[in-house]
Symmetry: none
Subunit: 244 residues, 2 copies
DNA sequence: CGTTTTTGATACCTTCTTAATACCAGTTGT
DNA sequence: ACAACTGGTATTAAGAAGGTATCAAAAACG
């Protein structure tokens, strides 16, 4: 067991804060399967004693992992690692959630909030009736004040009577309205930035961008959201882990 | 660590301002992967002391990188390199697989099979020793005779002594050699096609392409394969299903 | 030649991390 | 009911990090 503590020990000489170092190492250890799912981790005091760090530092590292959903704490009982089944590899997270997790300050600027007649493409993809109308939302997505993506969402008017009512998070709004998105199909392509998108995103025209097209479904399998997101390629990284 | 400082040191004799020289060198170092995402850079005072420049100079250089979004500063904490926004994907199916299912005939043409000295980037990503050599494989991927993607794989020479021995499937070869890839991390970005890739892929220079970078791991968690695949955006469309 | 801008150095301020405590509040086993 | 764990919270303090204001020399410019 002793080598294990060694591997978790943060390095004082590095300039990265101790708690971040420890958080990373502990996350690696958990992912490497050092502890069984639902097994208690060593207590905060044990970490503190064995690694020669203060309990506050150990605790702050655990806070990070808690934020990532890797562990769960039970007051008086202990800290447990979250069973893998409950943390699907590809969680459907909103832009807002993802940024907060990364320590950025998310914000958005509305470019458009209007009611419109759907295009043919939208009618098909959202399974609309020919006469239905839609709400169109277009905005810049910012992290710490920097434009990271341009997002255009289309929703059936029936689910979103007032376009102005949406706050900073569309998903939060849909949750509150009783129509949470639980599943989504996402297509990813590369496109050259057109003049309008380039201008909104603050990049040169023709620059390569990732175009993510997502169709969100509610629990009863109704397509409720069609979102095109043009992602600035220098800030986004799409990651997939494959196993066989 | 000492050679590193040497490489960052600006040259007083040059006419370009010290802080610009330093900014450039530091940016190169970051791009070369000297520090991990979310890791802290040395402090401004450390740079100042080690490089024999004033703290303001070091700071002005960091200002430049901050402007470029390469780094983030946290008052009282340190300077960190900006993490990319990771968008997790799973159940990723590529268009080639769909093509196969639809009955297209995949094939490939070798462009290069050689032994080479790894780039700095490859050394980092494959965890190589500085003296190790690698095999480089480059080929066109075709479907019914049309170029769909350009693929360049890099493997440690130790695992693949003879580049010519690889048949049409790299994975089949590795399986037979007793080093099957069981897990892979795949990153997807958008890039503008450079002159060489454009020529090989039969498209115009500057056209947006999907660049898929895959690192394959064996059962004992050793990185054995680094593959860059430039996918023609008119033929590729990655699909992922997300849940929460 | 004088003026303005750039560059670099110094000193001081604010904020964050880390640590050392102490104490509170649930949980568990005896 | 109790003792001995667990996590949760608050306080204090020192040290280290980025933030900022000021000034001097050098370069660029009119």
């Amino acid at each position: 067991m002793d080598e294990r503590w060694q591997a978790l020990k943060p390095d004082e000489a590095q300039s990265t804060p101790l708690y971040l170092q420890f958080a990373r190492k502990l996350a690696d250890a958990i992912n490497a399967g050092w502890w069984q799912a639902d097994e208690a981790l060593p207590s905060e005091r044990t970490f503190s004693d064995e690694l020669g760090i203060s309990r506050v530092t150990a605790r702050k590292a655990l806070d990070v992992l808690l934020e990532q959903g890797l562990i769960r704490r039970r007051h008086g009982s202990g800290t447990f690692i979250t069973p893998r089944l409950e943390q699907p590899l590809s969680r459907l997270t909103s832009f807002t959630e993802m940024l907060k997790q990364k320590g950025f300050e998310p914000s958005s600027v509305w470019l458009e909030r209007s009611i419109a007649t759907p295009t043919h493409d939208e009618v098909i993809k959202l399974g609309l009736s020919p006469t239905a109308q839609v709400v169109r939302l277009k905005r810049q997505r910012l992290a710490d004040g920097v434009v990271m993506a341009i997002e255009q969402s289309t929703l059936p008017l029936a689910y979103l009577p007032d376009p102005q009512a949406v706050g900073s998070s569309l998903y939060a709004f849909l949750d509150a309205a009783g129509h949470p998105v639980v599943r989504a199909l996402q297509h990813i392509r590369a496109v050259n930035a057109g003049p309008d998108i380039a201008a909104s995103a603050g990049i040169k025209q023709g620059e390569a961008m990732l175009l993510m097209t997502r169709i969100g479904y509610t629990a009863d399998n109704v397509a409720i959201e069609l979102t095109d997101t043009w992602c600035r390629n220098d800030y986004y990284d799409f990651v997939a882990e494959l196993r066989r």
